[in-house]
């Protein structure tokens, strides 16, 4: 408890008091206690099930929130009883970070208040009768309103705790939180409505339970998708690191080129999809160096013409390597042509002007920029301003002036904050940190 700031403690205490006042009316309402018990046990079970391995794979952590049961409770029971459903499950839920008990307490209070509010709104709009009827499509209105209220209360309270306990600036605490939550809560609300309708039907709670199975599998697949994506990004990074191993001085170079390329592409107003491709092009531009003998890459002093010819094969090697990666598309041409020069004196094909693909012209500028601003074994890093002046001098002959201009503008606006430090231990853009266990899930 010591690590929780004082104001956050006050905030949690207020939330607990609010939750208790929601529950205070319990003795006054007529409650079907077996239904409350069954739903509470069900919710607690859903919270626990994330601890059990499912089909040989551990269930992902992000699945610990399971709203359909809570919303079904809100649609079926009077508000105080619905709020009670959330409490036991939240109190025994899995919490990854310390301190655990304040978090559990907070979670129980938060959910109790939100469910109470949702149930209140649902009842006020005549939702109970619509569910018992069942009266479709009218039943959708109170259920939708209840889901909206549920989401609003969750967002409002969660933002508060983020400000007080996690010290997130108040400007950022609520930004996008509601929009991110609304879609999943709506889907869970529909499932909750279906549960409530079936619960009241002659088929009874058994039918309602079956609703949970598809929801569970759906969440599970979604989490697997995210895991596989993380593993893929790690593999891309491994490709890049394999280059780093060979090519002593380019440690972190590839990722920084990716970052600078993205800045240029954004400045040019490219679509998000193309920006993403340009990022991959920047990251992978030197991947062909894997095919160049290590001796030549690390050689001190000038290369002989023969050696230079071999090193200059690397764009073609890179292009050949990534040929099988379907999604790269345009980025492959950038890997092939990132050493072309605007006046046609570059390699491998000596393309000139607009014949050079746009992503390749971007990566060429980003590559040169990072090469100049990072320290290499044979010279110290130059300041950003000096590098930009040099780029400006070569614009028109070696580089596309449009790309150089875009880089200058982007740097004026955002500054240059390389994501990867020279020793390679900084955060890596959107690539997850190594501490996250990355497993290639295979599905089943």
């Amino acid at each position: 408890m010591r690590s929780v700031p004082a104001w956050a403690r006050v905030y949690i205490a207020c939330a607990v008091l609010a939750a208790l006042s929601c529950l205070a009316a319990l003795p006054d309402v007529r409650v079907t206690w077996w239904a409350v018990g069954l739903l509470a046990a069900l919710y607690a079970g859903c919270e626990q099930i994330t601890r059990c391995p499912f089909l040989g794979h551990r269930a992902p952590e992000g699945m610990s929130t399971f709203f359909p049961v809570l919303l079904a409770g809100a649609f079926l029971l009077p508000p105080p009883a619905a709020a009670l459903v959330a409490v036991p499950g939240a109190l025994i839920s899995r919490v990854e970070q310390r301190p655990r008990w304040p978090r559990r307490l907070w979670r129980a209070a938060l959910l109790a208040v939100a469910v109470w509010a949702a149930s209140r709104v649902h009842g006020a709009l005549g939702g109970r009768d619509a569910v018992a009827g069942p009266d479709f499509p009218y039943a959708l209105l109170p259920a939708g309103a209840a889901a909206l209220v549920f989401c609003t209360v969750l967002t409002a309270l969660d933002g508060g705790i983020a400000v007080l306990a996690e010290r997130v600036p108040a400007r950022h605490a609520w930004r996008g939180l509601f929009a991110r939550r609304l879609a999943p809560v709506t889907v869970h609300g529909l499932a909750g409505l279906m549960m409530a309708v079936l619960w009241r039907s002659p088929y009874g709670p058994a039918a309602a339970l079956l609703v949970l199975l598809p929801m569970y599998v759906s969440c599970w697949v979604f989490a697997q998708y995210h895991r596989e994506r993380a593993a893929h990004q790690a593999t891309i990074r491994a490709l890049v690191q394999a280059v780093d191993i060979k090519d002593g001085y380019t440690r972190g170079h590839s990722e920084r080129v990716g970052q600078a390329s993205v800045m240029i592409a954004r400045e040019l107003g490219m679509t998000d999809e193309r920006v993403e491709l340009v990022r991959f092009a920047g990251i992978l531009h030197d991947v062909g160096k894997l095919g160049v003998p290590t001796r030549l890459l690390r050689k001190d002093g000038p290369l002989t013409p023969e050696e230079r010819r071999i090193v200059e094969l690397h764009p073609e090697y890179g292009h050949e390597m990534v040929r099988g990666i379907g999604f790269l598309g345009e980025a492959r041409s950038a890997i092939l042509h990132h050493h072309e020069r605007l006046d046609g004196s570059g390699y491998p094909y000596g393309l000139a002007g607009d014949r050079i693909p746009e992503p390749a012209r971007i990566v060429a500028v980003a590559d040169a920029f990072d090469a100049m601003t990072s320290t290499r074994s044979y010279r110290r890093a130059r300041p950003v301003a000096a590098a930009l002046a040099e780029l400006g001098r070569c614009a028109g002959t070696q580089f596309d002036p449009v790309m150089v201009g875009a880089l200058v503008r982007a740097l004026e606006r955002h500054g240059w904050h390389p994501v990867v430090t020279a020793d390679g231990h900084g955060p890596r853009g959107n690539v997850p940190p190594r501490s996250v266990p990355l497993r290639a899930e295979t599905g089943s």
Binding site: T235, V322, S444
Partner: protein, 431 residues
Amino acid sequence: MRRRPSLVVLVHAAALCLALAALAHTLRHGLDEPAAALALGLLVVAGELSRRPGDGASREPAPLGAAGALAYALLGQNTGEPTRHGVLQTVAVVAVAALAGALPRLVARRGPAVHGSVPGHPARGRDSLADHLARRVLAVALAALCFRLLYHRGAVPEWHGPSYVPLLAGLLLLTAVCDAVLGALLVRVRTGWPLGPLLRDGLRALLGVGSAVCATGVVMSVAVAVAGLWALPVFSLPLLLAQLSFRRYATVRTIYRQTIASLARATEIAGYTPPGHARRVAVLSLAVGRELGLTEPELTVLEYAALMHDIGQLSLVDPVPAGATAALPAAQQRRIALLGGAVVRQTGVDAEVAVVVERQAEPYREQPVGARIVRAVNAYEEHARDAGPDGPLRAVERLRRGTARDYQPEIVESLARVLARGREAADGCHG
């Protein structure tokens, strides 16, 4: 054109005859309750349209389509009124809807399917689509038939009570098991892979997506009985989302596999190993792994490890002649394997892959099964590739002589069987 095995022809013909008969019957007698037929038919079309690409072997590719079809088969009531559509109408509606949903794919499938860079899928393109449609029609016919038999006989005294739901669930379970067995049989006759592991994988998949499909089918039919057709859009939304995430998952898996293959090609481009070596070892290892009855997750580990087994050579300053590690002294083989394991650990693939790569050079008794397979197949590939027409036979002989310590005898024999099957298939093509 490959000759189709007779079981495949039989299944396709049975499904086609059934669908045509059902269609003729429905056209002749008209559609009972067209609203329900239309609504559920549309659901099946939507499900098929958004079906995920890729393997149709063990996993249900279009969960929403399957759930809609099964829900229609089990639809006993609509808002409290008993329904009248029979088995044949059910089959006709589902067949037409599934075909309509598959049309875009049929049209798009002119060219050969480009799917990742590593083969291993039993049936491609039209074949897999035809299998999928035939299985859908037969499964729905079975479910509808059982349901109507029970329903009309009044087998359960108290219909539409709490016992109804477990009954429906049981019925769908039966259908799903039959469907899984049929799917495994189809793959078996197409590819000659052993039936046991195929059945096991098919039944395992039932636990995951299969259970969700069955549960959704039951819930939809019951919900329509209670609340009318409004229940369909309300409840299909969660499953549609699941299906979309399935698609994204399949896509990211494909590009992941392509990226691994690219990483594996790095050694070839760097001139350390001959072109295509990693790919050939992966294909053969997968075939041997299947022969030995490995599970799907184990096969994935095996495939990735086989693709990347030579990656350690990247860390060498001087290439091994022709990348032939099998001829090197044991200590150096082990050093390269350890270097490779270190690279693989960076890639975010399963740690088991790194273990297989690391231990590929050890005597087989100390190895995990994946490493035994990769070791034997890699040695075979290196011995056989430039050795002329009788190279494969001599290479297998060499492996047999090494079974005391290096190669597991069962794996060498399995490899020999896989190779013999490959030769037969090649002869069949020429003859």
